[in-house]
């Protein structure tokens, strides 16, 4: 049984400009795979190669065992796609648009109606008069209205309000329950954390990490905030895997990587008044992989970029 998506050294250059470089990944059938990265990281380039709209400069991509460039129509029978900013024909209403796109996919007229009702989309309004969020609903309806086994989505929930984002996540969950595979490109980190089984993080055209969300989040990294009865000795936290991020004497914030037992034993020797141990979320991890490269552009200073773990940050 072939993987839903196989990337083998997938590379794309636009002249001398980098698109993506030697991507290696497998997306298993039936899983929700998140593809995380900021604008310009190479997410859309990857998706355009998966759709057979552009050719790789090197390496290969396979969709359900097929070459998306050479076998585009056959591949497109197996997938539904939602782009990041679809250029809908503004004069058409959602009814005409969805019926047209549905007919091209072999669907009956009106196959989208129940989904449109669920997302509270008025299909009679010309698309040019719809708000950004409602236009995005047209795309979400479009991608989920068929029965294709693979859904490829590029920033699908951009512009959706929180209620509709929740509905979108429910649709993704239902797709997974139905055994469909979802490839979800996003920089909406909480969404990826909630929706995906596995995540690949792309940075400057290269995959820097592929792992399950659980593995990423539980990467043996914990944030520990302590309130002490009296200041700890200077060397109290000098142990392997523990980094003191801040200390005001009695308030101490440390990061622990790996086994937490040595730290717990040490804490037993101290006068601990309060303790809060938290698991870093995907957002923290994301910034960890982008540490020092995008802090300014993402509007988040490096010092505030969540848990900082130097070793793996920039491979």
């Amino acid at each position: 049984m072939p993987e839903a998506i196989e990337l083998r050294g997938l590379t794309r250059w636009y002249g001398k400009r980098r698109g993506v470089i030697e991507l290696e990944a497998d997306v298993h059938e039936g899983e929700v795979f998140g593809f995380l990265g900021p604008n310009g990281a190479g997410k859309t380039t990857t998706i355009r190669m998966l759709l057979g709209l552009i050719r790789p400069s090197g390496g290969s991509a396979r969709i359900l065992g097929m070459d998306p460039w050479a076998q585009a129509p056959a591949v497109h029978r197996q997938l539904a796609h939602l782009g990041s900013d679809p250029g809908y024909l503004g004069d058409l209403d959602a009814t005409s648009l969805l019926d047209y796109l549905g007919a091209l996919r072999g669907l009956q007229k009106g196959a989208w109606r129940s989904l449109a009702e669920r997302l509270e989309l008025d299909p009679t309004v010309p698309v040019k008069k719809l708000s950004r969020g409602n236009r995005q609903k047209v795309g979400v309806v479009s991608v989920f209205m068929g029965r294709e086994p693979l859904l490829v989505m590029d920033e699908p929930s951009t512009g959706l309000d929180p209620l509709m984002q929740r509905e979108f996540l429910a649709l993704v969950a239902e797709a997974r329950t139905d055994g469909r595979t979802v490839f979800l490109s996003s920089h909406n980190l909480p969404e990826v954390e909630r929706a995906c089984d596995r995540v690949a993080i792309i940075r400057e055209g290269r995959l820097v990490k592929t792992a399950t969300v659980a593995a990423l989040v539980g990467d043996h990294t914990r944030s520990v905030n302590l309130v002490l009865g009296r200041p700890a000795p200077d060397a109290a936290f000098a142990m392997p895997g523990v980094t003191v991020l801040s200390s005001t004497g009695q308030d101490v914030h440390v990061m622990v990587r790996g086994d937490v037992n040595p730290l717990l034993r040490r804490l037993g020797e101290l006068d601990v008044r309060d303790i809060a141990i938290s698991t870093p979320d995907v957002e923290d991890l994301f910034f960890r992989y982008y540490e020092g490269t995008v802090a300014g552009s993402e509007g988040r200073p490096a010092a505030a970029a969540g848990p900082v773990i130097g070793g793996e940050a920039a491979r």
């Binding site: 636009y14 859309t44 355009r48 759709l51 709209l53 552009i54 050719r55 585009a72 129509p73 056959a74 497109h76 029978r77 997938l79 539904a80 796609h81 782009g83 900013d85 679809p86 250029g87 809908y88 024909l89 004069d91 047209y100 796109l101 007919a103 091209l104 996919r105 072999g106 479009s142």
Partner: protein, 267 residues
């Protein structure tokens, strides 16, 4: 799938087609309405026309008497209005599927379905053929209809045959525009290239007509083959001209299909 896309393309062409049709109907009808006045005042008008530089006459295809229906039609429609209308129509339609829709991100949607690139562009080309044919027909039909009302005595068969030449001329423009649009994926560039070629040909045609030493340049211009005066006045069809337009159109569209199936569709 091709039929669906063709119908959508036709639907998207309605405003353009109706707008241009209104222009050619109103203008053609008005011109046809004054034809009887030209007939009764031929000698005076010819004397008046002699006051104009021959370059201007050449530019508008006025190489005979305006009392002749063919010269009349060529002067006011064939060499003047139609190239402009056909260029607008051909450029707007032929740059749409590969360039404008790629720029706006629409083409990714149908091309992300089982619809092949060939069928997608083929449907759009078929739409160009149909819309340009309709415009050419409306152009001659408007002149014919008003001409009949005012007793101009136009020959319907010859006018309709002239409509075929107008249509082929427009198709040639669309074929060239289409291939440039596929190569550049830019509506602006493709439109500029086609318009530039047409203007250059127009000027070359004038030079060829007023400077005997450069008469050979005329053979390089589309306007040499677009004249319908002899066809309307004497029933003499320019088969070579029609063949040239047909070949240019078919080769342009075929090249578009060939290239579109093989090129990267960059966002």
């Amino acid at each position: 799938m091709t039929a669906l896309t063709f119908r959508l393309e036709l639907r998207r062409s309605r405003i353009l087609a109706v707008g241009l049709a209104v222009v050619v109907l109103v203008y053609g009808g008005l011109i046809a309405a004054v034809y009887p006045i030209l007939l009764t005042n031929t000698a005076m008008i010819q004397d008046y026309m002699k006051l104009f530089p021959k370059e201007l006459m050449a530019a508008f295809g006025m190489s005979g008497s305006l009392a002749d229906p063919g010269i009349f039609f060529t002067t006011y429609i064939g060499s003047f209005l139609w190239p402009v209308v056909a260029a607008i129509g051909a450029i707007a339609l032929a740059t749409r599927p590969a360039a404008a829709d790629a720029e706006r991100g629409w083409s990714d949607l149908p091309l992300g379905t089982p619809l092949t690139r060939g069928r997608y562009l083929g449907a759009a080309i078929l739409c160009q053929v149909v819309v340009l044919a309709a415009l050419a027909f409306v152009t001659v039909a408007g002149v014919l209809a008003v001409g009949t009302l005012v007793g101009a005595g136009f020959d319907p068969a010859r006018f309709l045959a002239a409509g075929v030449v107008l249509w082929l001329f427009a198709c040639a423009m669309a074929g060239v525009t289409s291939v440039v649009a596929v190569i550049t994926l830019s509506r602006g560039v493709a439109a500029s290239v086609t318009a530039g070629i047409l203007i250059a040909m127009y000027l070359l045609n004038i030079v060829a007509q007023v400077q005997p030493d450069f008469a050979w340049l005329g053979d390089l211009t589309a306007f040499r083959y677009a004249g319908v005066g002899a066809l309307i006045d004497r029933g003499a069809a320019d088969w070579v001209g029609m063949g040239v337009f047909t070949v240019v159109a078919v080769v342009g569209w075929a090249a578009s299909l060939f290239l579109f199936r093989r090129r990267d569709l960059l966002p």
